[in-house]
Symmetry: C2
Subunit: 288 residues, 2 copies
């Protein structure tokens, strides 16, 4: 089977000054993930590598470059899921961790659990020998400025939010296994401890060889409301193509909430789709 990886850098519009960096970042991430696949690596290794690449890239709202919470700190969520066996791992509200997606993978592989949060996730990171980075290292000037602007009395954080979003990837490897990974800094100026769709299995991502893999991006609370990733795969299980399934689920989300968002899905046969409401997205893909 020819391997495929589809990588996204968040739903919503892209401001001009970010466009070049974002496009280069998703292409780089797609190529890095695809290199894993070409060398015979698994889908789950590939999506982890692609998301790790975007977490390290300050252009995206994940890892370094994440938006800040109400207190001016980075707090991140991430999930990874293997469609071969439905195993998954996730972390929520983690700080001072360079690559939440790697920590999520360790939750999946080294614990009996699927989601570790906040303080406990940090204790686990210590046990795994993952060093904490100074919180400042994850904060870009852009994030700080946005946070300050959002504190102004006439600010419109929701409007601002629309140029940012979760990063993620879906992949199919040469053995026909699918996987997804999603990582985010969440919503600008969110309450401390707010967990969005990304850490919740079925909302921020889902992968099952029998149907496909999906990673979602956009307004987390709207995505959670309809458990978007799982909904798309239900539609695919009923025989819809990835494109029709994604559009049907996104239309339903639009009807039930005012949230914006998008999704990226693939199925074992190699077919994939990237669909979104309202705004364009930054997207990269590689196909064998």
């Amino acid at each position: 089977m020819k391997p495929v990886i589809v990588v996204h850098g968040g739903a919503g519009r892209i401001f001009k000054e970010r466009e070049e960096g974002c496009r280069a970042g998703v292409v780089r991430a797609a190529l890095q993930g695809y290199t894993v696949l070409k060398q015979g690596g698994s889908a789950i290794d590939a999506v982890e590598e692609a998301v790790r690449s975007m977490e390290d890239d300050p252009h995206f709202n994940a890892g370094c470059g994440s938006v800040l919470n109400e207190k001016g700190e980075v707090e991140m969520d991430a999930i990874i899921m293997d469609g071969k066996n439905l195993n998954s791992g996730a972390v929520s509200a983690v700080k001072c961790i360079a690559n939440p997606i790697k920590l999520a993978r360790l939750v999946m592989e080294k614990t009996k659990h699927m989601l570790l949060t906040d303080h406990g996730a940090h204790l686990f990171a210590q046990t795994m020998g993952i060093p904490e980075v100074p919180g400042e290292k994850l904060i870009t000037q852009r994030s700080r400025e946005r946070w300050k602007k959002n504190l102004e009395p006439d600010s419109n954080p929701e409007e601002f939010q629309k140029d940012l979003g979760t990063v993620g990837a879906v992949a199919i490897d040469s053995e026909g296994n699918v996987a997804c990974a999603t990582s985010t800094g969440g919503l600008s100026n969110k309450l401390i401890g707010r967990v969005g769709d990304t850490a919740c299995i079925g909302s921020g991502g889902y992968a099952d060889n029998h149907s496909g893999a999906t990673s979602t991006t956009g307004h987390g609370e709207s995505i959670m409301k309809v458990v978007l990733a799982r909904l798309i795969l239900y539609h695919m299980e009923q025989g819809m193509s990835p494109e029709v399934a994604a559009d049907t689920a996104l239309d339903y989300m639009k009807d039930t909430s005012r949230g914006f968002g998008g999704c990226y899905c693939c199925q074992q046969a190699g077919e994939w789709a990237a669909r979104f409401l309202h705004q364009a997205d930054v997207l990269g893909y590689c196909r064998g």
Copy 2:
């Protein structure tokens, strides 16, 4: 429409010494929730009241009586969802809170978010004027003994776990609105910061007037793996009765993991089902 409430006190076997207290507790909770419905209250008020009643009852693994984490502390998750508008609120890994279900309801009503975790959830509780209770107040002698036994080298925490489970309720009010609520102390001797199915929308519960309401109980990681609550309602949307939908979803869960569990679901027309794998459950219901 005649109101209905179905209340559960956890999947799994019930040890003899707990049987009487558990049965009395679910009946009391069902009656308290039903009183809300009979007085013209909403389904969401009724499920909150029923779950609050079981959180206050030391016989159940929620609120006072919760199992302890690896450090010997109570850490709880809870979710509430209104089928009328798909609004929901949840908290994860909260300590020193007598009624996590009330905090979840406040997340739903007083924030733009749907899930607050750990430290941030406590800050929010303070803002809402919810007093912290001493951690010891939530710990029963039984929980402490179980925790200690699980620390012994030849212990079998998973076997022990089977006599405990999440508590929850589903209801239909006189206007035909459905709602669900679920609350839990999680898994005995879990890692600090472990979040289970209860806090994850679609896994621990889901409610939608167009299909129905579900609350789940059992081994959290197995429930999350299949996003159980949403899966049951998806089957009901396809025309299955609550009973057949629940059995189909639970059989699928059994096939994909070794976890035990159960679920409680109802639909707008008033039909309801309580189904479980392997073990009997404590269950109460009232119907107008």
